[in-house]
Every structure is written in C-alpha cells, then in structure tokens.
Symmetry: C2
C-alpha cells in the first residue's frame, strides 16, 4: 500500500526494523548515549543551538507542551491561523484561560507579515505570537514566517511555531528566524513511525516557563530539561521509537539537509504541475503551496469519498481527504519523508486511473 498522505508516511524497512532491537534500561548508560546522540542530531535538523526535547506523544502532544509551558491565563496572545491545525493551536491557547487575539485567514491563504505588524502595533500587551509554519489541512506554507517572527521579536514577543509537517521537508531556520518554541512530529518528514514529538526551546522561553502558572505535569518541559541533563526523560520513553529516530537521523545526515529540501521541492513541484495539467486547481495561493502536501480543489461533480476508496482498493494508494469543513471539498496528495520521483509518478498514475475508474472527466 502506498501512503500518499501527509503522515503517517512510509517508513524505510531498515528504520522500521531498527525499532525491534533489544530493550534497554531507560535509566542506564546505553539510553543516556542514545538520548545525547539523538538530541544533538535533532539540533542540526532544527538549525538551532537550543535544546531539543523528545516527548512520547503525537504531534498534538507537542503542541500542547508548546502552549501550556509558556502561556498563562493572564497573558495576551496573538494566534495566527490558516487552517485546522492553526485552529487546534488556538484551542490549546484558550485552554490555558488566555483570551487570544486571532488573525484568521481563509483556507488556502497564508499569513501576511503586514497584518501581523498592524495587530501587534494596535495591541501592545501581546507578548506571544503562535502560528503554524506548514498547514497540513490546506497544503499551505506560511512562507512569510521569517518576516513575521522578526516583527514579533521587535515587539518583544515570544514566537511559538507548529513545524510538525515542515521540519525536514523544508528549511526551518529556528535560530536565524528567531523562533523560540518549535514543534515537530515523528510521523511527518522524519521517515519513522508516529509516537514522538520534538520541541526546541530558546533561553527566553525557558525563562518564561519558570513564571508560567498553567498547570502541567506529563508535558512539563522543565522536568524534561532536568532529566536531559542526565541523558534521560522524566517518564519512561518509547524506547523502540528512539531506536527508529536514531537510524532515521543517520539517514538524514547522510543525505544532507539541503539535498532533502531539494528532493521535497522537486517532488512537490512535479506533483503540482502534473495535477494542474490534469485540469485541477490547487487550494493554496500561488507561492504558498506546501512542499509536504498538495491540497487539490475537488470540482462539484467529483465524489471525493469514491475517489479515495477506488484509489485505495484498486490502486493500492492512500490519498487524504479534507478535514473538518473541508471534507468533500478537497483531496490531498502527500509528498514528504521517504519519497522520491518514482513515488510521485506512481501516485499520479494511481490518481489518473482512479479518476478514470469512477468516470470523472475534467
């Protein structure tokens, strides 16, 4: 079965198998060595000198950690949302009791730095900017993120970013852009199974954590910081997934980050141009299309559920539908992680054959 999803992605066999190595003591020296090596490699991928912590949780757990460790009920927060995952971040901010200012864009549009500047000028008490880098639900990338972060920093804000589906698929220059808190998830670009979240924390963010009054325990990052100093995690980690991560990071290092970004850009561009040639429109505005996943507008006479079913049952290929109110209105073609030109070609063939099979003609 070919997974043309925006995650979980396919996992190379040797990475999957590395997860089956013999269990070790999570409080022993082998684990400390593993954690230390992984953390350092993660810093390279995050392009940061900040500590990167590993949580046994899915990406959403990482997002929760990003919020509950920093935002207190009394804080003023700007949440920028361009889709379903931006809305999830918003829900998490609201959970803390904070009453956020929301800058919301319609599906397919990316955030504009000028809009952010205006909001921050008008609301001088805002001290946090929360945003999604790559919005999986709409196949849209916030390409103005560097400018937005720069503006946010100039207003003294802490910048909290969901990079769950962008990290390792496209460059996320955590330190250069000034991103204080950045989250990713193992089932996206990392070529491994789901179950781990990664989170980088700046010095400024650690300081804020010490004052943050939002209750937290499992996701308490200060506990993770104290444990990392001993090469441990505060709670028993998902050791087999740490093994997979170690192997995946070796592969990433070997291929090289720039080559990986180029591969993703190539696969994404080939997908987009082929799909446009087939007569479809993309959901994302031009210049903001994601290199992780392409969201395709479904014409009124295309039955998306039927398309996905035929692709799965007859052509062994899983595409994603639309989430929430986008259900039935779009379908999505994933191209991140362990993916090459051949996968794209096979995915496009499966798509064409499935459209044919259900009698859809543009």
């Amino acid at each position: 079965m070919k997974l043309r999803l925006p995650g979980p992605t396919e996992v190379p066999e040797h990475i999957a198998l590395s997860g089956s190595k013999a269990m070790i003591n999570h409080r022993g020296p082998e684990m400390a060595e593993l954690v230390s090596s992984i953390s350092s490699d993660l810093q390279t991928c995050f392009e940061t000198k900040n500590e990167v912590h590993i949580l046994t949780a899915s990406g959403t757990g990482g997002l929760e950690a990003a919020i509950v460790n920093h935002i207190s009920a009394s804080d003023e927060v700007l949440v920028i949302t361009i889709g379903i995952f931006g809305n999830r971040f918003l829900q998490l901010v609201e959970m803390t009791g904070a009453k956020p200012t929301v800058l919301k864009y319609d599906f397919g549009h990316a955030a504009n730095a000028n809009d952010v500047e205006k909001v921050l000028k008008d609301n001088s008490h805002i001290k946090f900017v929360v945003m999604t880098h790559n919005e999986t639900s709409t196949g849209t990338t916030n390409n103005q993120i560097a400018d937005i972060a720069s503006i946010a920093k100039s207003f003294g804000c802490l910048v909290i970013v969901d990079a769950v589906s962008s990290l390792t698929a496209m460059s996320v220059e955590v330190d250069k852009w000034g991103l204080d808190v950045v989250v990713s998830g193992s089932q996206k670009g990392w070529m491994m199974a789901p179950g781990l979240a990664f989170i980088s924390i700046s010095e400024e963010a650690w300081d804020i954590q010490k004052k943050c009054t939002t209750p937290r325990f499992y996701f308490d990052l200060l506990k993770h910081k104290a444990s990392l100093a001993n090469g441990q995690t505060p709670w028993t980690p998902a050791v087999s997934l740490f093994y997979q991560l170690e192997t995946a990071l070796k592969d990433i290092k070997k291929e090289g980050m720039n080559n990986i970004f180029a591969r993703h850009a190539f696969c994404a561009e080939k997908t987009r141009s082929s799909i446009k040639e087939m007569g479809f429109d993309l959901l994302a505005d031009e210049g903001y299309e994601s290199n992780s996943v392409t969201a395709i507008k479904a014409p009124d006479d295309l039955n998306v559920a039927q398309l996905l079913k035929v692709a799965r049952t007859k052509y062994n290929t899983i595409f994603a539908g639309g989430q929430g109110s986008l259900g039935g209105k779009i379908f999505r073609f994933g191209h991140l992680g362990y993916v090459n030109e051949n996968d794209i070609d096979m995915g496009l063939d499966a798509l064409k054959s499935s459209l044919n099979e259900i009698g859809f003609r543009k």
Copy 2:
C-alpha cells in the same frame, strides 16, 4: 543484556518485530480493525465490560488522564499513597487545584481498608478515592484493594486506580471490584515496548467527565471516546506500538490469564524465597509482596550502586536501585512480563556472583 527491572521489560523477538510492519493510514479501515480488535482484547485483560482506551504516552500520561478528566478544583479527594507512584498520583491531583486528604503509609506497608473506612466516615464530602494497586517503588501490592474499593463505593466515591505494573502480572478484577478508572502501561506486564498507556472507564466515570472543569486536551478522554466509535484515536497513534500490542495480546490470550498470573506468582515466590535464603530482608510487609517486582533492603555495608554496576558490566543483568529517598537503601529484582523460571535462576545467579565480586558477605 537481561533486564531484571520492573519495566521496561524484555520484549519477545516476534512481538518486537511485529512493530516493523508497513505503516498504514491511521484514519483508514485497517486501523479501525486493529483498534477494535485490540480494545476488545484489552477488556478481557482488564476483566471489564468498560471501554478501554489507548493513549500514545507512557504510564504517567495515563495517570494524568485518569486525574484531569475526573477531578475538578472544588472536589474532595482521598489519595492513598504507599510509595513514589502514589506520591506522583497525589501531585497530579494537586495539579487540578483540589486539596486532597492524604492517607500515607511508610515504604513497604500496604493500605488498610479500616483506615480508609475511617477517613471516609470522617469526611463525608470526599467523592474520589485515588490509589495505586501495585507500588513499583517498594515492591508492595495493595492486596486489600477489593475491600477498599467496596468501602469507597459504599460511600458513593469514584475509584481511580494505578494498575500500571499490576495488570497482566496479577489479577485486576475491574468490574468485580468496582474500579471506575484503571490505568496500565505497555512496558510492564504486556511484553512490549514502552509508549502506550491503557485506561478503562466506567459509565459513572464518563458521566463525571462531562461535568469535570479541569482543562485538558491531549488527554481528553471524551475526545478518545468519540474517536473510538469510529475505530480511531483523536490524535495520530503510535501505530508501530499498536502492532506490537496486537501481537502481545494474541500471546496473552494463548497462554491464558490464569496461567500468566500463576507464572508470575511462581517466579515472584522463587525470587523472594531465594533472596531471603541469601540472608536479605524484603521491604514489603509479609502478605503484601508484589508479584511484579521484589524490593530488597540493602544492609548498611552494601554499596547498591557498586552492586548494580558489577551486575550490569560483568553479569549482563540490570537490577533497579531505589527511587527518590529509597536510593541506596534498597535494590529491586523485576519479574514481570516475558519472564520464566530460567530468567529468575539466571537473575539470582547474577546477583550472587555480583555480591561475591564486590566482596559482600551476609
């Protein structure tokens, strides 16, 4: 390396390898089938008709879910603690803002049903009883749990139990004993890798969740309930660990729960009698020794750190030390999960040889 720890335990090779199967769509029919089969088998192990939910998190995440979904800041709660994990439960209750009544026993003692009855008689507003079934830190089992639960129910309390290290190692009769919320963790008796927590929820507990005001998101069990109806989890699950769980549950079913309990009882009894023959005292009171792990008092002239190091480096065996204030005062010999008489014999041999090596004589 032989892990004589109270978790993570060794994982049989075929279970470990089953985690490397090809990735699937976590929103597709294959996943729904997997989740449905696993959930049903978990109910058998929990001896319950209640729904059992699977969280991508370690056991502590399961404990957090057990608390934040039920206990609100205004609730009166009895927390019974007999060790480090009972204290962790207490911290989680305090996190909600509730001001619990605490019934605390010294390390090695188990809770007494009469004490619980007295507290509940004196505090008629208490509506929750929170307790650990098997205290891993002290090798002590709360064997009066059925009586305690019965008393708690007679006072109209919801009973919340940490069975992280007891489930599948000893009988936990969730329905018969009237346990409303019961948590376990994958790296304990389940013969698989860490990273999943399991939690059973009674009808009464679901009703309380609807009224609970404690903020929660990742661990929101009502979201899990809504997703389970579609054979899904609200957030991307750790699919490879679900594969391992499916295989482990097949093995558990094949061996039979009663045979598994008998195997654990036999291994534990052999460990205890042999260690007592060697002249050591156990930490747990007689009649309350755990069948998951044996905690051994370290005589003043025994250097525990040295013992553990020699066992690891010369005899390929990992024993556990004491946690928190028990550090240096005890060591622990794990016998749960994938363990048989031969493992116990090898563990005892390694222990004797290590004691010899460091020149310790009783």
